[in-house]
């Protein structure tokens, strides 16, 4: 399966990346513009399946590390990916065959397209999350035991840092500090792997899924929510209006909650979404309706477009939808890395499809 990504596909992809971003991952609009300008200047990027590449071909997972606010102001140069590739090739002594987003959610799902297009390399139809998460080791490659080293980080000026960290968590600490020094954001690669390794260590088909979501929304006549549910296998939790938004910053992360009051068929219901950069948990009267690592997205009820956590505001009419995560996140290690307890909650994870059955 090979596919050239044209403007229509990129626009659909951006809508899909926003939905899979579960409120985080940065505004996909900047990523879209970067990809569109790359399309204009360098031609379409090729999307390939892992099975289209030789087993020993090298995959470079990549994306931006840093603050979304910096990303909307200090927009990328477009050549960061090329610098990462040069250093990675020098460090590994091998040629990079394709790029892959570390996370499909938000802007990071689109950036590697811009970089790959400008280098004439393909991107693989896979990512390391199937959604967005805040931390570097919260990737499926980490669960599969792939070595995060070497980590390479660069900025728009061409400064390069090479990391050799003793663990994924140290990679997170070191890169996060470097991002501040770079001016709040930097481009990075970690968890380089071969195609053979990637087959069991990534969430496959996520580009196709994101494009399918975007196309379903664009083509939907009338009920875009139904189209979205059909495209994702998700569960609508409730429709209503945002009646309270609370945010605070602790240790560099935005935490808070959003309260939604039911409308229409949901009149009388009150739902709370807990946020830490992404939407983590949906609660109703103390009962969990959905939680990480499953995906919870707050959508504009009218357009079915995802609303990033920083843009949720009082009075918005929204629909909440929960979608099952990639199965690998439901393993013991997966939940240890990204389940409710990993985010400081004192309850066990129950898959959203079971919860949906329990409360239906």
């Amino acid at each position: 399966m090979k596919r050239l990504l044209d403007e229509f596909a990129l626009r659909a992809l951006a809508r899909g990346c926003a939905i899979l971003g579960t409120g985080g991952g940065g505004d996909p609009r900047i990523g879209l513009l970067l990809a569109l300008q790359a399309l204009e200047e360098a031609g379409p990027t090729e999307l390939v399946d892992l099975d289209d590449l030789p087993d020993d071909a090298l995959i470079m997972p990549c994306g931006m590390v840093g603050a979304p606010t910096v990303h909307i102001e200090k927009i990328e140069n477009g050549g960061e990916g090329e610098v990462l590739r040069q250093y990675l090739e020098r460090l590994t002594g091998r040629a990079v065959a394709a790029l892959m987003p570390a996370e499909i959610g938000g802007s990071n799902g689109l950036l590697p397209l811009c970089w790959a297009g400008r280098m004439g390399l393909p991107v693989v139809d896979a990512d390391g999350m199937g959604r967005a998460f805040p931390l570097i080791p919260q990737v499926t490659m980490h669960l599969a035991g792939i070595d995060p080293n070497p980590g390479v980080m660069t900025d728009e000026r061409g400064n390069v840092l090479v990391f050799h960290a003793v663990s994924g968590h140290w990679m997170e600490r070191l890169e996060r500090s470097a991002a501040v020094e770079f001016g709040g954001a930097g481009a990075a690669t970690e968890y380089t792997m071969t195609v053979e390794q990637a087959r069991g260590a990534t969430v496959r088909g996520t580009f196709t899924l994101a494009i399918k979501i975007g196309e379903a929304l664009t083509g939907a006549v009338g009920d875009s929510m139904a189209a979205l549910v059909a495209a994702t296998g998700g569960f609508p939790l409730m429709s209503g209006k945002v009646t309270d938004v609370e945010r605070r910053t602790t240790k560099g992360f935005v935490r808070g909650s959003v309260v939604v009051e039911g409308l229409g068929d949901d009149v009388g219901r009150l739902l709370r979404v807990e946020i830490q950069n992404e939407n983590l948990v949906a609660l109703e009267q103390g009962k969990v309706l959905a939680s990480v690592p499953d995906l919870i997205t707050i959508l504009d009820s009218e357009t079915a477009d995802a609303i990033p956590t920083e843009r949720v505001r009082y009075g918005q009419r929204v629909t909440l939808i929960a979608m099952p995560c990639a199965p690998i996140w439901r393993s013991e290690f997966g939940l240890q890395m990204a389940g409710p307890r990993a985010f400081g909650y004192d309850f066990d994870y129950v898959p959203v499809e079971e919860l949906a059955g329990a409360y239906a």
């Binding site: 900047i30 513009l33 970067l34 569109l36 300008q37 790359a38 590390v65 840093g66 603050a67 979304p68 606010t69 910096v70 909307i72 102001e73 200090k74 927009i75 990328e76 140069n77 477009g78 050549g79 811009c114 805040p134 728009e156 000026r157 061409g158 996060r176 500090s177 991002a179 501040v180 001016g183 709040g184 209006k241 009646t243 945010r247 605070r248 910053t249 240790k251 560099g252 992360f253 935005v254 009051e261 409308l263 009149v267 950069n277 009218e302 920083e310 843009r311 505001r313 009082y314 009075g315 918005q316 009419r317």
Partner: protein, 561 residues
Amino acid sequence: MPTLDYRLGIDVGGTNTDAVILDRADQVLAKSKVPTTPDVTGGIVAALDAVISGSGVDAARITHAMLGTTHATNAVLERRRLQRVAVIRIGAPATLGVRPMFEWPADLVAVVSAGAVVVPGGIEFDGRDLSPFDESAVAAFLSSVAGRCDGVAITSVFAPVSPRHELLAAEIVKRELGEVHVSLSHEIGSVGLLERENATILNASLVGVAGDVARALGQALAAHSLSPVTFFAQNDGTLMALDHALRYPVLTIGSGPANSIRGAAFLTGRTDALVADVGGTSTDVGVLVNGFPRESSQGVEIGGIRTNFRMPDLVTIALGGGTVLAGDQDGRNIRLGPESVGYRLLDEALVFGGPTPTLTDAAVATGRARLGDASAAEAWRGLLEAASRASDAQLADAIDRVKTAKGDLTLIAVGGGSILIPDELPGVSEVIRPDHFDAANAIGAAIASVSGQVDRIFHFGPGGRKAALEEASAEARDHAVAAGADPESVQIVELEEIPLAYLTSPAVRIRAKAAGALGGLYGPADAAADAEAHLPAGGPLHAGSSIPANNFTHGSIRGGT
């Protein structure tokens, strides 16, 4: 500043231009409504003539004039009278991945752009240099556009943190090109490079339009031997002093809806309600919260260009008094608008002897209004009743979409077309139709108090978060006072904190807005003197001139009673 006596408010809508004269006690002394003309200015002059000549009011007592106009919006939409702008972005090697005006329609770029460049320089979020500012690159670009541009738009990465590279570039423009207009992004928009850059370019292209309208208004006033202190309404419902509007014309875009909502609040004394402003072509439904229009969370799009200005949160539907009805006479196959007969209503509508069924005819046929000759609409009764039902359903849906809480709310119906609104609607507890409902927009423009705002990134110092919030609030107050607010009455009306995620050093973006009564307008005489004392040197209400240049800020006047 002259002591306040009478105030003149003018508001330009899509269909009509309204004018009112208010006295010191905010009583409406006179009002007029004339068709908006394609050049906009003609309608303003006619409305002014009508409100002065037709009323017998002693116009010589008009000391203040407030204008809400669509000149700037129309100029962008029609690509007319826009000036050619040389576009400078300071931020290379960052930002090259998305070039200036990348998303703009090609025809608008062709009209506006005299060329664009991205030069090395710019600021980091923490205030350091992104890269060294390249003076020679700016000079080289300017010499390449010399003689081909009317103005220059300068946008630096993180100018809301520090404008120093924008100010350096402005100096070079002065040296290379002399006295051309320069728009600096830190004076115009907030965080979000592309949206702020878009607004800055539009601003530079609109300076000529603003000058034209200011001149036309001045001449029209002079024809009546008037020279009041003049203000322009801006997008958030506040007003700017004339000299400020000449420098920041883009801020006048979208002032209409806020004026109507503020006018509705004033006319009813309500602070929390729904407001429906029905014009000739469309209806805006907005929400009044605490006396101010609720703002949208999304930036405003102007002619397809994204900006980060906030406007009142509105639901707009294509229903107005002039909306043309299509369908069979018995009411089948009905279609409402979106075409409107606009100001030709008096020639076109059935009840006025015309050939075209409109929503005004429907209001007459259903007994909501007594206008013209009701019998002329009788043959169309089936269509008109069906149209009325369809219009009510659209209105009810718009009201439901704009509401923020369940439960019924008061609806204030204003605008010339508000006869369309029935007395009972789902979700509405009562419909209030205030006196002078048809001039709510012009009244909203006239009843101004002053505001100032700050929107930039703060780094926590020794005082931490609390000190940063206090600093932002104090700056907003200072800006309001600099713009002419009575210091005694200035209050913080909006304070929003937006944390910057994924950074280990504590930084936060703070938006603060302060508002108060126009200095000396409402308070005792000594308060007026006090306000004068706080005004910058060089003249009254010289908004912006005394404002420290190290952040995004503008002084302005906001409606408030």
